[in-house]
């Protein structure tokens, strides 16, 4: 059997959170652990355009930017992730709302009220802890938004670059 230094091995690409494994020593025994058990960032998205802003007058949720403001990842062994989105938003009357959407539509229990006064712009992030995902299955989530009949705006990078990040949760 040939011995090789780790440094002499070929480099892997960005790992799959469920399928790719690393060795760990647990209770004195060497085992394998999927990368997703280490709890890091497993996907992100950002929108770098500086104009135009995203607007909607829709009352049902609609995608903010189905092509760019979305994250795709392989669910970790725990079936748990935290999805976050950070952006600046405003509603001309009432509060802006955001949620997560997938290929079917709105993801249950993800609407959030951004709680800004009418006409006031606010920047911040929203977190969605998701459980019950199937390990190894690929998921794509998009950011959705709506108002209360008035115009809701999510600003682009001239105000704050919209981002989405997915963290694996060990377990």
């Amino acid at each position: 059997m040939t011995n090789l230094k780790i440094s002499a091995l070929s480099a892997g690409i960005a790992p799959d959170a469920n399928a790719d494994v690393v060795p760990i020593v647990q209770g004195g025994v060497t085992k394998k652990a999927p990368v997703g058990q280490l709890g890091g960032i497993i996907a992100w998205a950002r929108v770098i355009v500086t104009t135009p802003n995203y607007t909607t007058t829709s009352t049902p949720f609609v995608d903010v930017d189905a092509a760019n403001l979305k994250v795709t990842f392989s669910a970790p062994p725990s079936g748990k992730v935290v999805v976050t989105a950070c952006f600046s938003s405003m509603c001309s009357s009432g509060s802006p709302y955001v949620n997560l959407r997938d290929s079917v539509g709105d993801v249950a229990n993800t609407p959030r009220n951004m709680v800004s006064s009418s006409g006031w712009q606010n920047s911040g992030s929203v977190s969605w802890p998701l459980t019950g995902l199937t390990p190894g299955t690929s998921y794509t989530y998009k950011l959705g938004f709506r108002g209360s009949g008035a115009t809701t705006t999510i600003f682009v990078a001239n105000v704050l670059m919209p981002t989405m990040v997915v963290w694996a949760v060990p377990g």
Binding site: A11, G12, I13, P15, D20, G28, G40
Partner: protein, 177 residues
């Protein structure tokens, strides 16, 4: 002949370099190496413990450091050349918008156009993400939290721990890719 040693018997390493230090990775049935930074972990953070508020009247685009000495994080760039800077803080602008950014030395690396709307002394607390790309893998950087007024006069303020319970915090995460 190579001696066999249990991993648990090896010496304990220091905090790894996210670009130069590697671990084993089994990918598609093949054993490879992967840089630690490809695992998407935290590269560094700072939690301010200053009691007094941080205030400036400096108007954009003239961002200034919030606290040059303390609110900064030094890190090594992961293989992707991408990091995510995360701030958690409370503050307000008494007339103008409060803007936050990232500075390295005297150079602006990233900035928000608006963090909090100014006027009316509305106080807000939030977490802001500023993604950075295009860094050279393995390069070392020291990023500082910066802020500025959106113009229109008056001061912008980020609360210290006396008024906010906890001062501003800064986190830098490795982004795989």
């Amino acid at each position: 002949m190579t001696a066999t040693v249990k991993i648990s018997a090896l010496p304990v390493a220091t905090a790894p370099d996210p670009n130069a230090d590697v671990t084993l990775l089994v990918q598609g049935g093949t054993t490879k190496k992967v840089a630690i930074g490809q695992l998407g972990g935290l590269l560094g953070y700072y939690q301010s413990v200053q009691g007094a508020d941080f205030t400036t009247a400096s108007i954009t685009p003239a961002y200034v450091d919030v606290d040059t000495t303390n609110i900064k994080v030094t890190f090594v760039t992961p293989p992707s050349g991408k990091v995510l800077v995360v701030y958690n803080f409370a503050g307000y602008g008494n007339t103008s918008n409060l803007l936050v950014g990232v500075r390295e030395g005297l150079v602006d690396v990233a900035a928000s156009g608006v963090a909090f709307n100014g006027g009316g002394n509305f106080i807000n607390s939030s977490t802001i993400h500023l993604p950075i790309t295009g860094l050279t893998p393995g390069s070392s950087h020291t990023y500082k939290m910066s802020y500025a007024s959106g113009g229109g006069g008056g001061n912008v303020t980020i609360f210290g721990s006396t008024n906010a319970g906890l001062g501003p915090s800064m986190y830098i995460w490795a982004v795989p890719g």
